[in-house]
Symmetry: C2
Subunit: 253 residues, 2 copies
DNA sequence: CTGGCTCACTGGACTAGCCTCTTAGACAGT
DNA sequence: ACTGTCTAAGAGGCTAGTCCAGTGAGCCAG
């Protein structure tokens, strides 16, 4: 899953041993019915049973540690973390790729809250950034563009104005999901003027520091914008994907 | 669950070398202005520069790979992933430890939405789980307990009933933040009966499939429960950050 | 110009060994 | 009996050295 491969071709990567070990250890934990707090077999023991060297096993253990599955304690052993949640989160993210509607749903939830907070907490500087974004968007649309860049700026400015790093991180998380699912753009190219108008309403509410109005305006905006099919995945020539630019940027929301 | 570390004491864990290496490599990437697609120095080279063995460096590279920062290719080298975003999320989490109010805020945002969706989407089975959680909580409180386990069950059931894996993942994410910040409990021990009553209201709304009512009930519940000081946040001596044991279980919300 | 070969370089993995830390049990001293 | 100290076995941490296996640039013959 993931990575380049525009035309279906994908750089084959030889599987690493430690990855297999992670799988096997995970399976072992399940089959052995180990519970949080329990110890894994000793490294030397495990390595022998799995038929690998300690060094390689150590890599697998590091991976499991990073995934939050275990907690390795010097002199004691590898103990199962109290909750396999991290693992499930990460696994859930990568494997069972989340579907579009759910992502839109989560994003709208956050955006509405961000709009409310932005209205309540914005500084004058935040407001300037928001209005600057509107200017950019208006100019772009005037020039025939769909105003994607300005749109992005706008939502970033709103997020910043909410002054909540936690919510901002959650938004970043969602942005990643969108990337992983490779949805280019959730927004439709049409009606950029309408979109601009609803942005303006949000900005007005934020300027007036009216949280409820901001929430309503954001909700209306999202509903306006998200009742459209996702764009057909503009096929970019070759592997072009590294560019942090391109892609997802504006989801239209 | 689990009894260790009740009094805010935490098992000190000797820092692992590979963790430091991860930090240093991250710093190097930043300082060297490496961009996605660029190569890291060769393993032998890096190991010498950092003054560690290749085996240890290999562990650090595995960690970075799991974190999504790099992609190690046999015969080529370690190439920077197209998006360093994951790293930034993780770094943001670890460094600039998010503060309590923001976390509560984010959590309440999600919980309210989850309650709404739960009301709209619950199956009969979901409802059974929710009511079972209430039973457990009631029994616990009857027995003099503060009902933490039932509380946890309840919120898990609500989350499940909302049938949104994305939002569920965000909740898991927040749970992790709470772990990392080591907040013992956001909830107060007092008034478990009131808390149970407000849980019942939420359950009623979900049963009646009334999304708005569920949202209101959840909001009221959170406000009832969260107007208490957070636990004094045991000042961590050194860099201690491996969440590990203790705390969080139920955040009272 | 194409195809095949070579070789230097990169990561993958193993082995053997020594270090530090943890823990439990023996063995005092009180 | 209780308590503190010591010790040794066993756990993980890390290193150094060695060999194997991909990669890709460059050379050279067809």
């Amino acid at each position: 899953m993931e990575k380049t491969a525009r035309a279906g071709l994908e750089r084959v990567t030889r599987p690493r041993l430690y990855e297999q070990l992670v799988e096997q250890i995970l399976a072992y934990i399940e089959s052995a019915q180990l519970r949080p707090g329990d110890l894994l077999p000793a490294e030397r023991d495990l390595a022998e049973r799995l038929g690998v060297s300690r060094a390689t096993l150590a890599q697998a253990l590091v991976a499991l540690e990073v995934l939050g599955v275990i907690d390795v304690q010097h002199g004691t052993g590898a103990v199962l973390a109290r909750r396999p949640s991290v693992a499930s989160v990460v696994k859930g993210l990568r494997e069972h790729q989340s579907r579009l509607p759910e992502i839109v749903e989560a994003r709208s939830t956050l955006e509405v809250k961000l709009a409310t907070l932005a209205a309540e907490r914005r500084t004058d500087q935040d407001l300037s950034a928001i209005e600057h974004a509107l200017d950019v968007m208006a100019k772009e649309i005037d020039g025939g563009d769909r105003g994607a860049h300005g749109d992005e700026l706008f939502h970033e400015a709103i997020t910043a104005a909410a002054h909540s790093s936690v919510l901002a991180q959650l938004m970043a998380f969602i942005a990643e999901m969108i990337l992983e699912t490779r949805m280019e753009s959730l927004g439709q190219p049409g009606r950029p003027e309408q979109s601009l108008a609803s942005h303006r309403k949000i900005a007005d509410a934020v300027r007036a520091q009216d949280g409820d109005a901001a929430a309503k305006a954001m909700l209306a905006h999202i509903e306006l914008v998200s009742d459209v099919e996702p764009a057909p995945l503009a096929a970019d020539p070759l592997r072009g994907d590294n560019a942090s630019s391109s892609g997802l940027e504006s989801t239209g929301i």
